[in-house]
Amino acid sequence: MSLLRVDGLSRRFGGLRANQDISFAVAEGSVVGLIGPNGAGKSTLFAMIAGADRPTSGHLHFAGREVTGWSAREAVRAGVARTFQLMRVFGSMSVLDNLVVAAHVRYPGRRAATNRAEHVARQLGLVEVADLPAAGLTAVWKKRLEMGRALATGPRLLLLDEVLSGLTPTEANEAVEVVRGLRRDGITVLMVEHVMEVIMPLCDRLVVLHHGEKLSEGTPAEVVSDPDVVEAYLGSPL
């Protein structure tokens, strides 16, 4: 059964068509990659799924329910959490408090929220930095914290926006293991990513966007052999 269904979704900013009639589905328990060149409309699509932006037209279904144009809070409560491509941690707060804020959406009580936050900190290896102010973290740790914060909200669907870019190969491998662990825990993942070597073995399916439209969809092997995709990335043969 598909957890998320995107149905003819479009988003226009004035004359710019950021997303044009995009449709695909994400099966529960799968890891789906969303790829495409810069400016293809990946982040716009993410924003609409996460409730940060409203589509101009089209429909969005989550867990069998129509949720088109929902708010960010509704999305989080229903079980959709996201990370930001440009990391947006709560800088003045400690790492643990960052997680506590996110945990509060499911646990109103201070103690329960803190327990949940500590659990996530252990899961993502954030324990050693838990008491440090988040503003002082390096980019790598901030990315982890972003992921931890999304996870602390107790999501069914996790939207990861370029969590692997800018990492060294070792760090990227660690992050891949984290994503695999999420899948084992039954969390569905939709991830925007550029690094093909990482995404190929990790994802069950890929959706390719180009100029705001869906160019291709399928298993990683299918997608990379699709002539349209090759042309979009490398240009047409002379």
């Binding site: 996460a50 940060a52 708010s71 960010a72 809070r73 989080v76 409560r77 959490a81 996201r82 930001f84 947006r88 941690v89 709560f90 800088g91 003045s92 707060m93 400690s94 408090d97 506590v100 804020v101 996110a102 509060h104 959406v105 109103p108 201070r110 929220a113 050693e128 930095v129 008491d131 440090l132 102010p133 503003a135 002082g136 973290l137 390096t138 790598v140 740790w141 914060r149 999304a150 602390a152 909200t153 070792t170 760090e171 660690e174």
Partner: protein, 340 residues
């Protein structure tokens, strides 16, 4: 990943374990004890005046701090709430109400004003919000200045009554009762603010201050919590206004609603330490003290000199420690602890 990253991290800021609950309560108790002892140690009338004004404006600035310091919504219009408290109290007392009831009733009035103003203005961010708060406060200032029932530009005087706690008027020979009433009110405010900030609300408003978009993305109802903070902030500042008008028995548009009053609340909080509980009170004490000293030294209102000093203080704070005097003290203490 572990070792070099951690090294880089510790350079930015040493890990600061949160103070244990018991030591925090102890510190609070010590500060309150010192505040209670102040007029007994410094008995003269000037010291009493400084203390009363510092506590009054300290309450107002603490109110500002809830919204400006903790929630990050910088208001330059908080005189509006101070004036709401002062004018509501003044009007009711002139109609023979008990001042206590009058002050109590001015609080829901201020809360209502905060909600009505917050609804449109909280859609604005950063400077746009700050500018809107100035505009709203100035509009109200003009409205009051032209409303006959509110005394227009000449203001409202309050009747002098028998000195008693019920009348909230005391002998001017010994103003200590005023001081202790102000201290009790500050205690009430401290309790309300600390309770608000301790739980989920405190967590949420700090998240809103740090990054509103990220806060919304983890499910924080941003507008609602801005509103909660605004209401607590407005009510606290109005309480200060209500007490102020009972102390001076007079209110007019500049002294209750002026822009410089709004700015002084901000200044007190920033000077002492915005986003820290004791910052505004400390800042109020410093600024009120400076004002008294300059007036003594340079006769008359001594006005320009104290403003000059304010300016110098603000520049110093901005350059040396943007976290205010409290942050400066913490830094010095850390340094002392580190060097044996």
């Amino acid at each position: 990943m572990s070792v070099p990253v951690l090294e880089r991290l510790t350079r930015v800021g040493p890990p600061r374990p949160p103070p244990r609950r018991s030591t925090r309560w102890l510190a609070t108790a010590v500060v309150f004890a010192a505040l209670a002892a102040y007029p007994l140690v410094l008995g003269d009338s000037n010291a009493q005046d400084i203390g009363i004004q510092a506590l009054t404006f300290g309450i107002a600035a603490t109110g500002w701090n809830v919204l400006g310091g903790y929630t990050g919504q910088i208001s330059f219009g908080h005189a509006l709430y101070f004036g709401t408290g002062a004018y509501t109290t003044a009007m009711l007392v002139r109609h023979d109400w008990s001042p206590w009831l009058a002050i109590a009733l001015s609080l829901p009035v201020a809360a209502t004003v905060a909600v009505v103003i917050g609804y449109p203005t909280f859609r604005l961010r950063h400077h746009y919000y700050s500018i809107a708060t100035i505009a709203v406060a100035e509009i109200v200032l003009l409205l009051v200045t032209t409303t006959a029932a509110l005394g227009q530009a000449s203001g409202l005087e309050l009747p002098i009554k028998e000195p008693s706690l019920a009348n909230l008027q005391f002998s001017l020979q010994d103003k200590r009762p005023y001081y202790y009433v102000a201290l009790a009110l500050f205690g009430l405010v401290a309790l309300a603010v600390m309770v608000f900030l301790r739980g989920r609300a405190g967590c949420y408003v700090r998240a809103i201050r740090d990054d509103q978009v990220a806060a919304a993305a983890v499910g924080v109802p941003v507008q609602r919590y801005k509103m909660y903070a605004a209401v607590l902030s407005a009510v606290t500042t109005a309480l200060a206004g209500g007490f102020y008008v009972m102390f001076v028995l007079f209110i007019d548009p500049p002294s209750g609603l002026g822009l410089d009053l709004s700015v002084s609340f901000t200044l007190m909080a920033v000077l002492g330490g915005a986003g820290r509980f004791w910052g505004p009170l400390l800042g109020a004490w410093v600024l009120v003290g400076v004002q008294f000293l300059t007036r003594q030294q340079f006769s008359g209102s001594g006005r320009s000199v104290d403003l000059l000093l304010y300016g110098a203080l603000i520049i110093t704070i901005a350059v040396v420690e943007p976290g205010g005097i409290i942050a400066l003290i913490e830094r010095v203490r850390r340094r002392i602890r580190r060097s044996p």
